[in-house]
Symmetry: C2
Subunit: 342 residues, 2 copies
């Protein structure tokens, strides 16, 4: 009812009438049928578009995209639901490329985890300073995915650009080794999944401070049932002892946020779920619960494998959500490094 | 090293020199100390800004914001890390409000869950059609948070606007009842947490297709240890039987995605973690695993309480990530409705 965009664009482009777009109507029928909700007049009206536009069919939602050419300009209207707009953007970008002559940009991206941006920059400074001036380097840090390194060449004129960037990437790989976990669009959970698949191995997770986020990241990858068995989120200490076999005296002596406890969590879940690998976290996510010895942002991580169990203590920030994100990513990264070694 | 913005803005505004901003340097020192990483010359340079700007201190990251006034224009430069930029925007908006005379906009927002947008619109159509023309209504749907209803008055001139909107909100509440779960910025997991706190009750989660997302949402709320005990992510059927006590014959007769199985998961985790309430999910998230009877997007949800266990089967889309998000939100909503009743 509040969609005035369609009305305004129809008026502006002097449309004669609204036309029902059959392909969009079919999508709307499928969506309402699948969700077992009745299709009403409002759903039906969403398939209509002014006769002055070309409809860009929205295959995952009810509101179509519309492409107008009027007064020498291209006007594109897309649905307001963020993921629907995102899905249609690929079609729009393709159409824009066909409609206008655009200069080419070449990107080559590597994903890194484990070094803060400033340390990473120091490590690769000699290489970066020797880059030819037309190849630009960008550092794109993110608490969940690490630092993305992106090489770019703008306004590409020659066809040697790809090979040139590839040679630079090879040098970068030699400098950074296993700090690099993938290329553009790769995630830590995908890389971990790929390594587990290659080994035919399985994994389980025991989470305290990350509260299910690591399990959630692992299951975001399609086909993860081949290697992910499950997780125990032991937010309460009683669950740590009853479900994971953490010893009460260890909890009392060292506290829940400690290397001995997180190691017992990892070995406990590995045993309970009968997997080859396991990863565990325990930390002070905040905003409360910090002490002078273990301030907010302190996180313990352990990884168990056939080679035994290893653990480390890390320090992040005072922000709860960031701490959970960083702890989850660091745990997946520690699992990745373990998978590379044994 | 790739920060050319600072350099360009210094040149453009004819800066004489770069000045180290002590408050920003202090933040950088704290961050590097807490994370136990050495502070190098690159970190130190981040605290510098051209003498032509006013520094907006970044309290959660190393790169400061910069506010320039030059040639009659205001230029604002913010850090590129998305959550750092977001945190500084509040300061920037406040400064913009003080610097320029802006007309006021009044918003009043209600969060709803449980009715698709088109059905919701039908239900409130008489009320919406009777709204005075200066009060606008927007529908803002989101797979994780439901449909947000926002009343807006633009270019506010009178001081009766708040009371007027409040009267409309009261009518809307009467029409929608428990479909409304909160106001602007409230989330389902916060509302569920509030209800559990008020009852002094605890909750546990058993997840198959949602893979830890429900637990992750519950733990995103600070202070959740008061009511959240933990979760069992039983992605593998063997974990459903061994850890949750799901019966093998039930799995074999009805399949993992079925009301009997999800009910046993809910009662199983409630018993294992000794909580007052429990919620469970099992579904076909996709892209594979669908059958004619249970296509991708089929999700079963159960909630267990002292009143027994209730379950329902829902149908979403073909997109894995959307299915996980919708299933998690629907499970939290079913728990919310249960908490309102008993």
């Amino acid at each position: 009812n509040d969609d005035i965009t369609k009305k305004v664009l129809a008026e502006y482009t002097h449309a004669q009438r609204m036309v029902t777009h059959e392909a969009q109507l079919a999508v709307i029928k499928t969506i309402t049928t699948n969700r077992k909700i009745p299709m009403n007049v409002l759903n039906r009206k969403q398939a209509e578009a002014p006769d002055t536009c070309e409809v860009i069919v929205n295959r995952i939602g009810t509101a179509p995209g519309m492409w107008f050419e009027y007064g020498g300009a291209v006007l594109v209207s897309l649905p307001g639901v963020p993921f629907e707009m995102q899905a249609l953007m690929d079609d729009v970008l393709l159409k824009l490329q066909q409609r206008f002559k655009l200069s080419a940009i070449f990107h080559r991206t590597l994903m890194t985890y484990g070094l803060p941006e400033s340390i990473l920059a120091e490590r690769i400074a000699p290489w970066e300073n020797a880059l030819p001036p037309h190849i630009k380097l960008a550092y794109l840090p993110n608490p969940s995915t690490g630092v993305k390194l992106r090489l770019s060449v703008y306004d590409v004129q020659s066809d040697t650009v790809a090979a040139e960037c590839e040679a630079q990437v090879a040098r970068l790989r030699a400098l950074l080794g296993d700090i690099i976990y993938g290329e553009e669009l790769d995630t830590l959970e995908q890389t971990v999944g790929k390594l587990l698949r290659e080994k035919g191995a399985t994994v389980a997770v025991a989470e305290s401070c990350t509260g299910g986020r690591i399990a959630s990241l692992l299951t975001s990858v399609a086909g993860c049932s081949a290697y992910f068995k499950g997780a125990i989120v032991a937010y309460d200490n009683a669950v740590k002892t009853s479900m994971l076999g953490v010893r009460l005296d260890t909890l009392q002596t060292y506290g829940a946020v400690s290397l001995p406890v997180v190691e017992q969590m990892a070995t406990g879940v590995k045993q309970a779920l009968r997997t080859d690998y396991a990863v565990a976290t325990s930390g002070v996510a905040g905003p409360d619960g910090g002490t002078p010895e273990k301030p907010v942002g302190t996180v313990c991580i352990a990884v168990a494998s056939s080679a035994g169990v290893a653990s480390e203590q890390l320090y992040f920030s005072t922000d709860r959500q960031r701490n959970i994100e960083r702890a989850s990513a660091s745990a997946l990264n520690m699992l990745r490094i373990t998978l590379l070694k044994n």
